[in-house]
Symmetry: C2
């Protein structure tokens, strides 16, 4: 088992990564709780709820709630219903919530914990690769009909328990999606991390030791950045590498057409091209393109309005100015932030999409 | 103008008390915001919204939302609607929310600010005496249909601007209600503060200098306690003096029959009697009773089930044990916390109510 300690502005917590940790949840509780409430989704429930529940039930009164899988559950209605269930279960200020699932469950259950009686402890048990990203940084949220994650808090968990075995049950598209964030962490961090990843061949059967290692490294990259900048004003923006176009693609294509990771894979390729153009440097674009390509990331796009994409990029992260802000690289491991000229961006994006589609 | 600096676990902010401060709001902004959104209620809007808005509009784009006066507005629906309006107004992470009103508005607008895009700055402009209490401590919340303030955060404002002139427009029952919390702060603090208050005669026409002085002292008492114990585990409980029976009376009688302050006035009298019985000390019960009485606090109660009251007292603050916890006084300014025997409590409460009603 591996362990990283994450420092937040107010406290610290451990991320533990290992095999079969779901059977040993009890070992990770650092205090005695009045009771435990597990929040999970309809995909994860049949797979792991019993394991976690059984690991706790001799020592604790355990209640749970299962929400439908998918982003739709991050709604105000389901949030309020979870509050109701928590109250009916008798939760008090000394109770613990466990978020058992992917990023959606972490966001939703985390926000329930953050706001139940003004905040009670919660533990994240991520069951996807992508959730390695959201398990660090303390961001919890639900969606507003006007936009994703508009209602939320910064509220770190008291522990993250990452059972590597639970990653075997995620679909291959989710493996790809999760690995895209690991690639991102490597590219903004240093060449050697990227050199490790580029050797990896993604297949249905995961290599646990390898996955555990790159997850740990990805978490470490994010943790270092977040520790320095807990409230996303400056360097935390580096974590948006690939996300400006990525988010625009997700919403312009309609959510679900590309997974989040697939969208940011394309976003990273674009950011690499823009970086090369602006800084007049040579980056390993081909190598990175090749890795995405051989691992079956979808790298062709349907006919899209460049105008609309740029418009969405401008609105991403509620940009303070009217210009598009992008994270670029001067070299692998050297991220920077630039505000871009609209006209140039337009041309670069047009060329980029054409080139992608004629590859 | 008077000013107190409140220290929180993460930052600090000033409470400013003075005449006509609503016309000088601009002077209290410590940074440049992208825009300002005022949340107020239907009682306060016709009185002060224009003043505040006019004080800002030359320098800022100002939007506002008016919710119905009364505790009913602390609902999930109105909370969500305020989020929608804030989004439509174009608020971003660099915007400011102003809570213009009493405790209800502070709680509601504060929770909107705490959770809008994971938290943006907010300023409280209390317009009631009672709000002096809630303006310190960082508690923000909305109600769940199963109970008050069950959904919330600890989220301190960046400033509290207390315009003493706005207190002239509150109804006399609200003056009484607010003063009860000041009395509480005096009794848990020291004899000299209480000796000052007992000279005061509450009338429709407030003495501004006097009110400003006792508000300042009340805020200071609360601030000192909260600074030492931001998350209400130990000494913060002292602030519940009078509240265990007070809350039970409010809910048993139905909200609105007694104001919050009237209910805790009775709660304090009971806590004084219990204190005398348990510690075998002589407290100025008669003097305090007399002050409440001459200022027309309702001190008679209808026929109530002692059983049910004790039951509600047990549930207050989600008591950890099955016993009722009360804040008592060994002397004025010497609060303590005791768990009470059910049978004795029952008898004391029965005697107390009988005595009240035959006074």
């Amino acid at each position: 088992m591996n362990r990283i300690t994450i420092q937040t502005s107010t406290n610290q917590y451990d991320v533990s990564i290992g095999k079969g940790l779901r059977h040993r949840v009890l070992d990770f509780l650092t205090k005695k709780y009045s009771q435990i409430f597990i929040i999970t989704d309809s995909n994860v429930e049949p797979l792991y709820l019993d394991d976690v529940s059984n690991a706790l039930k001799d020592s604790y009164s355990v209640n749970y709630s299962v929400v439908p899988a998918g982003e739709g559950s991050k709604s105000i209605q389901i949030y309020y219903d979870l509050m109701t269930e928590a109250i009916h279960a008798g939760l008090d200020r000394e109770s613990l919530i466990i978020a058992l699932g992917g990023g959606m469950i972490g966001d939703l259950a985390g926000f329930v914990a953050a706001t139940f009686m003004r905040g009670i402890d919660f533990i994240q048990m991520p069951t996807t690769i992508l959730a390695h990203d959201s398990s660090v940084g303390g961001k919890v949220a639900i969606n507003h009909s006007e936009g994703k994650n508009l209602i939320g808090n910064f509220f770190p968990p008291v522990a993250v328990i990452y059972d590597i075995e639970t990653l075997h049950t995620i679909p291959f598209t989710e493996v790809r999606s999760g690995y895209a964030e690991i690639v991102k962490h490597s590219l903004i961090h240093n060449p050697s991390f990227w050199n490790q990843i580029k050797q990896i061949e993604l297949t249905e059967s995961l290599n646990e030791a390898e996955l555990s290692d790159v997850l740990l490294k990805g978490i470490d990259v994010k943790a270092k950045i977040v520790e320095q900048d807990e409230r996303e004003s400056n360097i935390r923006q580096f974590l948006n590498f690939g996300h400006t176009l990525g988010h625009a693609l997700e919403s312009e294509l309609g959510y679900g057409v590309l997974t989040h990771g697939e969208a940011i894979a394309i976003g990273m390729l674009f950011a690499l091209q823009v970086s090369e153009a602006i800084y007049q440097v040579k980056l390993p674009y081909q190598e990175i393109y090749h890795w995405f390509s051989k691992n079956d990331y979808p790298l062709q796009l349907p006919n899209l309005s460049i105008e609309k994409l740029v418009d969405r990029m401008r609105k991403d992260k509620k940009a303070k100015s009217q210009k598009v802000t992008m994270v670029l690289l001067k070299a692998i491991g050297e991220p920077t932030i630039e505000q871009l000229d609209d006209q140039k961006l337009h041309l670069w994006l047009k060329d980029f999409i054409q080139e992608l589609n004629h590859h």
